[in-house]
Structure formats: structure tokens, C-alpha cells
Amino acid sequence: MANEVFMPKLSSTMETGTLLQWFKEEGDSVETGEPLFEIMTDKINIEVEAYDDGVLLKKYYDIDDEIPVNQIIAYVGQQDEVVPDTSPGISGNEINEEKELNESAVEETSVRIEEQSKVEPSEDVRATPAARRVARSNNILLNEISGSGPKGRVHVKDVNQVLIQRNDSRATPLAKKVSKAHQVSLESINGSGVNGKVMKNDVAKSIDRVSRVDPSIQTSQKRKLSGMRKVIADRMQESVNTAPHVTLTSEIDMKKVQELRKNLMKVVESHTGNRLSYTDIIIKATGEALSRHPAMNASLNDDEIVLNNSINVGLAVSLDEGLIVPVIQDVPSKGLREINDHAKRLAKNARNQKLQEDQLKGATFTVSNLGMYAVDAFTPIINLPQTAILGTGRIQEKPVVVDQEIEVRPTMAVSLSFDHRAIDGAPAAAFLTELKQILENPYELLA
């Protein structure tokens, strides 16, 4: 039974793909997983593998042909099997003359297509009664909501999320003015007007509620989520909502880093005027580890994992207004002295609000150090579209077993959060192990 080979849909925006080359000729035998042909989409070039074992029976297209998504490009099957002379069209279509021949193939592909199209009619959406009630009373279609529960079950939380996004645009002019004057955000307000439009009274009620929150809690200040705070809020929320975070932790013996720092302190200071910090060394070590584990230096854009060539490490800097992440470009090419110089300058500019646009762009990985506080470890949130972030805690003297003896060593806990959509546990663990090794033998950084 011949199996269809069709143009895959690789991103939500992809409509056609261009055939770049065939790796197999008609009559060649093909194994599942072997590359069959290469295509170019609006975003990337990619090799397409065979889904089935067999013989490449027929190729319908030539190099440079632009082919619509799901169009049948070829057939793979048993030697001598009969297949149509021209492409029967879109995979899964009924207008297939060799119905008997392809019966099971069609069945199989249609199953695949079903899996691809996620849009379900409202009745079939998995949702809790409460989510349904809230959606109903706010005229939200359940199939517009992605559920966070098991098997995509929609919970109240998910509906509220959509409501929040919607409210901003659905308030009367008067309600907007009142909310602005009182610095309450429209997002969290349940609108009583048509289609959930937020009316003046809804805002008034919410102001009432806020001021009633808990009389025992004296709020001295209210600050609207605006400007930088709002950007941070949105980005963090987006990251937590979209990227499945996994955090690995490890403890690193910092004895040698301490030594290294002491030894290099003078040298660096005489050149840059700054004291060499642990952060500088961690950045350098991270850069090094990334160069050995390029998979960790990736970005996830829509449906593509992009492996970045340059290793640019972002450094989280805390300001009164919020967090900002200036970037040190091409870390592996820089020595500790240069990194120290760059990092200090960026941090200073950040504090003086003198950072240039491009000093904030292009990070491929982020390091967030809270070691100056009494923080042992924490779980950092990934800066999308990056796929990982390293959080480092304070360095603490701790009893450590070294060669069967208990010794007091300076140790530091590190945590690596990664986006499980892009990276799996094992490669991330290997990266973290590499980083630990580098920091425990930092002299190799000088090699």
C-alpha cells in the first residue's frame, strides 16, 4: 500500500514550500527517518524525512517548484505498486481515483491532518462548568481559549486571561477616564455593559473594592502597572504562560574561582579601574559552556528553533523602575578584562538610563545573579525568545566532602531554567554539568 508524501506545514503562516533538492530518486529504497527531500519555507530550509519504509515510487515535483502545503509530492510503497501519474492533489482529499489502492493511506493521513487542526467547535471543547459560565456571561467562545488543564481543559483562569486582554479595548470613554484618574487598570474589571463593556459604575465598584480590600493592610502607595513595569509584567506573564519551564539546580565549589579572582583582581583593576566580580567570571564561564553546547544558545520563534551563531549573554540589572537586561556581545571572544569592562559600563549606563537600543538587544542567554543578597537559590524566568536562563545565588562557606575528608568550601547554588519546548532535560543537564566543571576548574578559561 503506497503512502503519500506531502508538503509539511512547518509554521502557522506557511502556505507553500519550495523544493530545493531530492535526496532520493524514483526506485530508491527509503527508510523511515531518512531525509527524502529538502524544502525552503518563508523562514527556514529544512530536510524532510520519510515517514515510511519502502521504495520511492513516484516524484511529482522538480527542484524549485513551489508546492502548496499538504500537496502530495510523492509516494513511498512496495516495488511495483501502482500510483497515479500526476499528483492527486491535496493529501486527504476525496477526489482520489485509486480509492481502493489508497484506502488505508488516506485514512492514515486524514488522521494526521485532524491532529494538526486544533480548532474545535465550541461544544466539543473541554472546559469546566465554571469556565463555561464565565465564558457564557461574557460572550466568549470557548474554542478561542487555550486551556491550561489536562488535555487542554479550559478553567476559569484561562477565561479570565482572555477577559483581561479584551477589557482594555472595551470600556466606555467615561469609564476609561475614571479608571485613568484613579489609576485602576481596566483589565481586571468585569464589564456589565453589552458584551462585557466596562462602564463607569464597574470602575467605581472596583475602586470601592480595592479600597475595601483589607482594612488591616495599610497601603501607602498605589502604582499603576505602566511603562517599564507593565512591559516586565507582560513579558514575564507571557513567558510563564507559554514556555514550559524546567529548572535544574546544582551546587558549585567556588574555591578555585575565589583564587582566580584574587589573583586577577589587581591586573584587571589596573586596566579597567573596576574590581573583577564573580558575575564577570560566571558570564565568561557561561559563554564558554554555551560554545560547547550550542543547543542551549537557541531562540524559539513561533515553530522554529533557531541556533544562534553568536553567544550574547544578557545580564539582569535591577533598577528602581524594574529589571533591565543589557547584553554583552560575543562572550567567548572576550577575555575577563573585557567582560569586566563591558559589564560595568553597561550596568552604569543602565542605572543612568543611558543604555542605547542595541545594548539591550540580541541576547541569546541570560544570567541573573542575586548572590549579593541572602539568596541561596531561585527559579529564574526565561526571557523569551531565549530558551534558557541561569540564576546564581550567594557564595556560602559549607562543609563539603573532598577526598573522603570534610572540608569547608565556598559553594554557590546555580539554577538553570530552560524552555522544554526547545530543549530536553538531558542536554540541559549536560550543559549545567559542563558549567560546573568550568567553574570548579576556572583556569581552563585562560587556556
Binding site: 469546566t128 462548568p129 465554571a130 469556565a131 463555561r132 459560565r133 491550561s148 488543564g149 489536562p150 481543559r153 478553567h155 476559569v156 483562569k157
Partner: protein
């Protein structure tokens, strides 16, 4: 206020009532000088004499039938069954006589009796002396079913049960007999059919009965450390059930765990869960209703296994977390 054990509270409710009302008397196996299987009636024969604290032959059917007859003539008997497991022997008298007569006589006769009996596992009494069969009686129209969880509730509910003109099955829990709390000295009633919110919280509702009320409270204590606020509702009486309190709570929290010691399959938790699903609270549920109950096995003698067959604090904590996972 002074504290009383659950056992003492039950005894006090009976004694106070008997001092006031000559129609009230006790009957049961070894309830006289011996003081009953758990000592609940100890000392009562000295005060009230053998006429009113009546030892009976070992026949639950006869005891119950005797009580039904006495009640029909206008007395207000309280009968004690040593272990609630033996209610099976009294079942015909309960189901076909006690529960039915008031209806069949068109209201011209009534059966104002109370059947007191200890239930539950945890004492190493094994398969025939550890069951929780309250769902059996809850199924029979005409019987009221009470399951107090504290000494305070026990005293107030027992008085209400004695005052009631209908047969009331009053379940005591063996492990609760020694628990203590503040109990007023004077007589008081707690209306049958009124649940008690033993702890308020906004995240999850636990509906728990008898011993499970205490485990639920312990679980709530643990969960609050993780920022989960649990509301614990003790229905106190299964029939009639205070649906309103439960429904209102679930409307508030959107999540509910129902816990009882009785075997989960066919247990009263199923009734509570369906009641919630049929009620107004349905539209507020944001997680499937969760039930916890005993495993479908006879209660083992081995203490470890005995524990494992019925819900424990950690099971409740787990169940709550499961319902809250998607909050």
C-alpha cells in the same frame, strides 16, 4: 468553659433529658451495671434504676422492635447497639417498621426513638466491628441520620434527636469518644439538618463527616502553609442534608472534595457529589468533584493495613492539591 469528652457529652445529653422527661428510657445490651460496650452509660443505672436503664437480651432485632413498640405508645426510647455493624440484624425493624409506621398510620402514630451506635475503624476491631454503614439507613425514607464529630455537636444533636418525633439513627465514632472540647453545662439543641462550617476558606471546599472532619481540619492546617485556604464543612446530619450550606460554599470555591470513612463505592459521598452537580453550584465548579472514601475491602485486623483502607490526612492533602492544580 469546662471541657467534656464526646463520650461524656453523649451521656450528659441523655441524663439531662431523662431527669426532665420521664418518657425517656434506655435499652440495650449490657448498658446497666457494665455501662455499655464503650462505657457510655456507665453510672446511669445508679441514678435512674433498672426500669429506665434496661438491659436486654443479645438480639438487635428485639431491642429495636421493642423500642419501636414503646415509641408507638408514646414513650421516647433511646436504644444502644454495641457496634453499628449489627444494625444489619435490626434492619427489618428499622426499615419496615420504624421508618414506615408514621406514614402508614396517616400521621396518627409516630415513632419518636433514637438508635445510638458506634461506628468506624481504628480500634483494631477488624472486619465485623469497624464498618461505617450509614449509607444503608440514609437510603430509607422515614429515618433521620445524624453523625456528630465533636462533643459539642454530640450533646446538642442528641437532644434534638430525642426531641424529634421521628426515628433518628445517631452514629457515634469510636475514635472520637475520647476527644474533648468545650461543652455548655445546660441542655441545648442543635437543629437536625444544619451543617457546620468548621473552618472557612476560599480555595477548596471539603465536605467531611465524623472522624474525617478532624482529618480534614488537620489537612487544612498543612495546606494553609502552602497558601491553600480550605473550607471544611461538617454536614453533621446526613438526613436531612443541609444542601444550602454546601452549595453556597462550592459556589464560592469552585472546588470540592468529599471525604468519608465509609467505603467509597455506594457511599453517601456519592449522594453529596451528585447533589452538588445537580445544584446551582454546578456552574461554579472549576475542577471535577473529588471523592475520598474507604477501599472496597473488609477492614483488616493488621493496624497498618487498617489505616491504609480509610482516608488519612495525607490523602486529603493530596486530593485537595489535585483539585487545585489548575487554579
Amino acid at each position: 468553659m469546662r471541657e467534656l469528652t464526646y463520650l461524656e457529652a453523649v451521656r450528659e445529653a441523655m441524663s439531662q433529658e431523662m431527669r426532665e422527661n420521664n418518657d425517656v428510657f434506655l435499652l440495650g445490651e449490657d448498658i446497666g451495671v457494665y455501662g455499655g460496650a464503650f462505657g457510655v452509660t456507665r453510672g446511669m443505672i445508679e441514678e435512674f434504676g433498672p426500669e429506665r436503664i434496661r438491659n436486654t437480651p443479645i438480639s438487635e432485632s428485639a431491642i429495636t422492635g421493642g423500642a419501636v413498640g414503646a415509641a408507638l405508645t408514646g414513650m421516647r426510647p433511646i436504644l444502644e447497639l454495641q457496634f453499628s455493624d449489627f444494625i444489619t440484624i435490626a434492619m427489618d425493624q428499622l426499615t419496615n417498621q420504624a421508618a414506615k409506621l408514621r406514614y402508614m398510620y396517616g400521621g396518627k402514630g409516630s415513632v419518636p426513638m433514637v438508635l445510638r451506635t458506634p461506628a468506624g475503624s481504628g480500634t483494631g476491631a477488624a472486619a465485623q466491628h469497624s464498618q461505617s454503614l450509614e449509607a444503608w439507613v440514609a437510603h430509607i425514607p422515614g429515618l433521620k441520620v445524624v453523625q456528630p464529630s465533636t462533643a459539642y455537636d454530640a450533646k446538642g444533636l442528641l437532644k434534638a434527636a430525642i426531641d424529634d418525633d421521628n426515628p433518628v439513627i445517631f452514629y457515634e465514632h469510636k475514635l472520637l469518644y475520647k476527644t474533648k472540647c468545650e461543652v455548655p453545662e445546660e441542655p441545648y439543641t442543635i437543629p437536625i439538618g444544619k451543617a457546620d462550617i468548621k473552618r472557612s476558606g476560599g480555595d477548596v471546599t471539603i465536605v467531611a463527616t465524623a472522624i474525617m472532619v478532624h482529618r480534614a481540619l488537620e489537612a487544612a492546617e498543612k495546606l494553609v502553609k502552602e497558601g491553600i485556604e480550605v473550607e471544611v464543612i461538617d454536614p453533621r446530619t446526613l438526613v436531612p442534608l443541609d444542601e444550602e450550606t454546601i452549595v453556597e460554599s462550592v459556589k464560592k470555591t469552585g472546588r470540592v472534595v468529599v471525604v468519608h470513612e465509609a467505603v467509597k463505592r455506594g457511599g453517601y459521598g456519592g449522594e453529596i457529589a451528585s447533589m452538588i452537580a445537580e445544584s446551582e453550584a454546578f456552574d461554579f465548579l472549576d475542577s471535577p468533584i473529588k471523592r475520598l472514601g474507604g477501599l472496597p475491602v473488609p477492614i483488616p485486623y493488621n493496624p497498618k493495613l487498617e489505616k491504609a483502607t480509610v482516608p488519612q490526612v495525607d490523602d486529603i492533602v493530596e486530593a485537595v492539591k489535585e483539585t487545585i492544580r489548575f487554579k
